[in-house]
Symmetry: C3
Amino acid sequence: MIILSVLYVVAIVAESMTAALAAGRRSMDWVGVCLLGCITALGGGSVRDILLDHHPLTWVAHPHYLVITTVAALATIALARVMHRLHHLFLFLDAVGLVVFTIIGCNVALELNLPLMIVIISGMITGCVGGVLRDILCNDIPLLFRSELYASVSIVTGLLYVAGLHFGLNHELVMSIALLSGLTLRMLALRFKWNMPKFIYNRDEH
Amino acid sequence: MIILSVLYVVAIVAESMTAALAAGRRSMDWVGVCLLGCITALGGGSVRDILLDHHPLTWVAHPHYLVITTVAALATIALARVMHRLHHLFLFLDAVGLVVFTIIGCNVALELNLPLMIVIISGMITGCVGGVLRDILCNDIPLLFRSELYASVSIVTGLLYVAGLHFGLNHELVMSIALLSGLTLRMLALRFKWNMPKFIYNRDEH
Amino acid sequence: MIILSVLYVVAIVAESMTAALAAGRRSMDWVGVCLLGCITALGGGSVRDILLDHHPLTWVAHPHYLVITTVAALATIALARVMHRLHHLFLFLDAVGLVVFTIIGCNVALELNLPLMIVIISGMITGCVGGVLRDILCNDIPLLFRSELYASVSIVTGLLYVAGLHFGLNHELVMSIALLSGLTLRMLALRFKWNMPKFIYNRDEH
């Protein structure tokens, strides 16, 4: 579907730009900024494809996606002064990326005829792993594990999508509902600072 | 063999629960606890399968293992108050996991007719990499590189197993000897705090 | 080509030994030193092969490379006292490793008939990812992202190599020019402390 392809490009641009800002906070050099942008934007899909043995990877078959994410990372350096004014726009685009990546990841697993549970996990990996790689390379504990309903939004989006298809509803309708529901949930979670309960365990390791 | 399948389930439950405690020490949220549990319990086998091109991965073919490790992680949250009383039980179950994963990893490489050295390394990867992934995601230097004969126990277990099969001994006998020897070595190492010698190098990087 | 095979062995020995010193700075035990040496020396090629679905991995097909890198890591422990006197030799050998790995990585992608942009990226992954894995396992922000033209040297080497082949020049001539140019650039960058400009962004994450 055309709309999904357009949203995919929007998503990888947004992910690359937010990763470039994270790189700037750690004073990485320009090459590091570009590498972190590309890895964050395209890493989730790459890990999914490696786990599911789905070759060639997207960027190997279509190297122009690497050009897009590299240009997006470099543009972030040029635009750094105005980026903070676009903070809310980027939170929104990041949420778009999360749900779009999730749907694309579900589609890949559906094409491979994998069990429904793996379809949802494939969506979650595609949506979330790019940010995990970014956090590991920045030497942080991945945000995914700590806050913000990020993985939960991806799971809900995938569940709605798979359930809708299972009940034989129109494909584009199901996709629209899943995308909009996931996006709404994510924006509400950000607005009202919803979090999953934390597990706090203080015993020593001996 | 039935006994190996039963021990495998015991092992992934134990690995998921110890990872959940590590997640609790870093105040991760419930989703993070479940993800860390699944990655730690199933990550070693997944990395082995990706390196050896052995598809589909165990959890892709059998998603119920993901249900088991997720439930184990959630149960850890519920049981957190009594977990410290089970500390010694978990050290034992973790050692069981190490040797069982090692034997299973050796078997995968043997089925692929790989060289004996790769068979032993396949066992070590299966036994040890889950814990390395847990430590990376918790932003620690992997314990594997620092202490406790963990990798050494796995290598000894694999060596005994491969050597026994090489000399044509009965398969179940060889497996039992390798499992029990590895388990004993690990428990002795814990009890008497055996460690490999450390390499300490203090020169600057200039 | 024989010379490339010889240089490859020199390169994995040099990478394993510098990784062993990094392990010593973190007081890892002897097993950790060997593992870090093997992963650093052979990890770049492994990640490349996994991303490009190029199996079996080098060390799976030729386990003697694992013996070489393990012996190199152990030799570093034995030679620790004199290693600092060899500091400049190792900087040179590390640069040799970077350009040799790059050419080998380009060759793998060329054999798979991948687009020229992927050929250059394949070279860069082969040359640089081993060091990234070393830094992640040592719990540092990868040096690659921060300094020293490391990735840039790899890209320039790959570009020269691909461009030379594209224009139909003699293969060995092109390879020699690319190797020597990359090596010279790297040594000049070290000598004169050339760095890529850094991107510094101080805004909070809110």
